[in-house]
């Protein structure tokens, strides 16, 4: 499986579109995906992930799914606590900003997930079909845990309930969970008529989405100075730690090599859609520069270029 190489990952159209977006931003191009299109693409991608996951889930025996599901839930609870501890103890970052960042690193980036799946699939090793269900499981708990940490001691400017509503009724969760349920109900046969739209078009839509994400991420890069060296290191090392931990734990629940690698990519990834919205509402005192720059400007590019091949290589080594 020497194919899990860094290079073959880097020259996928999706990653190159991300790079093109960064370059376009650096040369001050007028290129921008219209907001409506970017929103539309994110709705499409999330619903597609959910539905495809649901279709697969409808074929999966509970006995196969239960182990990965429980592990994912546990990691969703543990990883924000790890992240918080590291930020407070090693980074000396104040409580509210630590909790805000922890919410992001405990939750999951759907795009990182998709790219991890594509990477394995392109290598000829598609992961388990039910993985999208794990994305839905991983999305929420970390945000809840991190907000609990933030609210447990102090009086806060924001509203804990409003933040929770923002996650639970936010479009990420509605589309992922709604899609999962729809996919489970309709099964493969019911999915067939919409398959050309949601499956064949998926990778191409992702190219456009990452073009814009590159433009946005480039805008974050100029804030690297402001976040300081600790947060830069944190944004690379914590994902590696979470990824390694996940691969190691995956040994015990019967995931395939690719499944373990994809779960590692998910756990190591930092949310930049659901978490920012919830944190902005619940913890307005937290500085968005910290959590957005680290999750979108550092961890996301790191994971999709270097992180994912590492997790695959490690999974191959431990589980292969």
């Amino acid at each position: 499986m020497e194919n899990f190489s860094l290079l073959s990952n880097l020259i996928s159209p999706v990653i190159l579109a991300f790079v093109l977006g960064i370059i376009a931003s650096l040369v001050r191009s007028d290129l921008r995906l219209p907001g409506a299109l970017y929103n539309g693409l994110s709705i499409y991608l999330l619903l597609a992930i959910g539905m495809k996951g649901g279709v697969e889930l409808s074929k999966t025996p509970l006995s196969v799914f239960i182990g990965p599901a429980i592990l994912t839930l546990l990691l969703g609870i543990v990883t924000p606590i790890i992240a918080y501890a590291v930020l407070r103890k090693l980074g000396k970052i104040d409580r509210v900003n630590s909790a805000a960042i922890a919410a992001h690193y405990g939750s999951v980036s759907a795009v990182t997930f998709i790219i991890a799946v594509s990477f394995g699939t392109a290598m000829g090793h598609p992961p388990e079909g039910f993985m999208p269900a794990l994305v839905a499981i991983l999305e929420v708990p970390a945000i809840v845990v991190a907000l609990m940490i933030a609210f447990v001691k102090d009086k806060r400017a924001g509203s804990w309930q409003a933040g929770l509503h923002e996650v639970l009724a936010g479009r990420s969760v509605i589309l992922l969970v709604g899609g999962l349920i729809i996919g489970t109900l309709i099964g493969a046969e019911g999915f067939a008529p919409v398959e050309p739209f949601f499956k064949s078009g998926f990778q191409g839509a992702l190219v456009l989405f990452l073009l814009e994400l590159g433009i946005v991420a480039a805008g974050r890069l100029k804030d690297l100075k402001k976040v300081g060296p600790f947060l830069i290191a944190f944004g690379i090392l914590l994902p590696i730690f979470h990824g390694v931990l996940t691969v190691w734990l995956s040994q015990f629940i019967g995931l395939s090599v690719s499944g373990a690698a994809v779960l590692a990519a998910m756990v190591s990834s930092a949310s930049y859609i659901a978490a920012p919205a919830a944190v902005r509402i619940a913890l307005p005192e937290a500085n968005p520069t910290y959590y957005l720059t680290s999750s979108l400007g550092i961890t996301f590019p790191f994971n999709v270029t270097i992180g994912i091949p590492i997790y695959y290589t490690l999974a191959e080594y431990l589980l292969g």
Partner: protein, 103 residues
């Protein structure tokens, strides 16, 4: 203008993060605003970086209200949002047609 149709009111404009929109609209309605007009906006201010590119662009809320209601809205926004959120609020005079509807 001398038209008898016109009533002098206050035009309150609020530009802020999209994420606050619902809460703000509910509150200004409570405070006595009879309506509002929304436009999508973007912008730059003292808070260099904001999550607005993720939470969607900013929102620009305009409401024609009586002077008293304007004052209440201004105070509410200043107290509730100025510290932690990207927000700007200003008040202007406006002559409103059939303005008694909005008082």
């Amino acid at each position: 203008m001398s038209t008898k149709l016109l009533v002098p009111l206050k035009l309150v404009t609020i530009v802020t993060e999209r994420i606050l929109e619902d809460r703000l609209l509910r509150k200004i309605t409570e405070l006595g605003a009879k309506g509002y007009t929304l436009t999508q906006a973007s912008g730059k201010g003292s808070r260099g970086i904001r999550s607005s590119e993720w939470a969607g662009p900013d929102t620009r809320i305009e409401s024609l209200v009586s002077a008293g209601v304007a004052e209440a809205i201004v105070e509410y926004v200043a107290e509730s949002f100025f510290e932690h959120y990207a927000v700007i609020v200003y008040v202007q005079d406006a002559q409103v047609v059939r303005g008694e509807k909005y008082i």
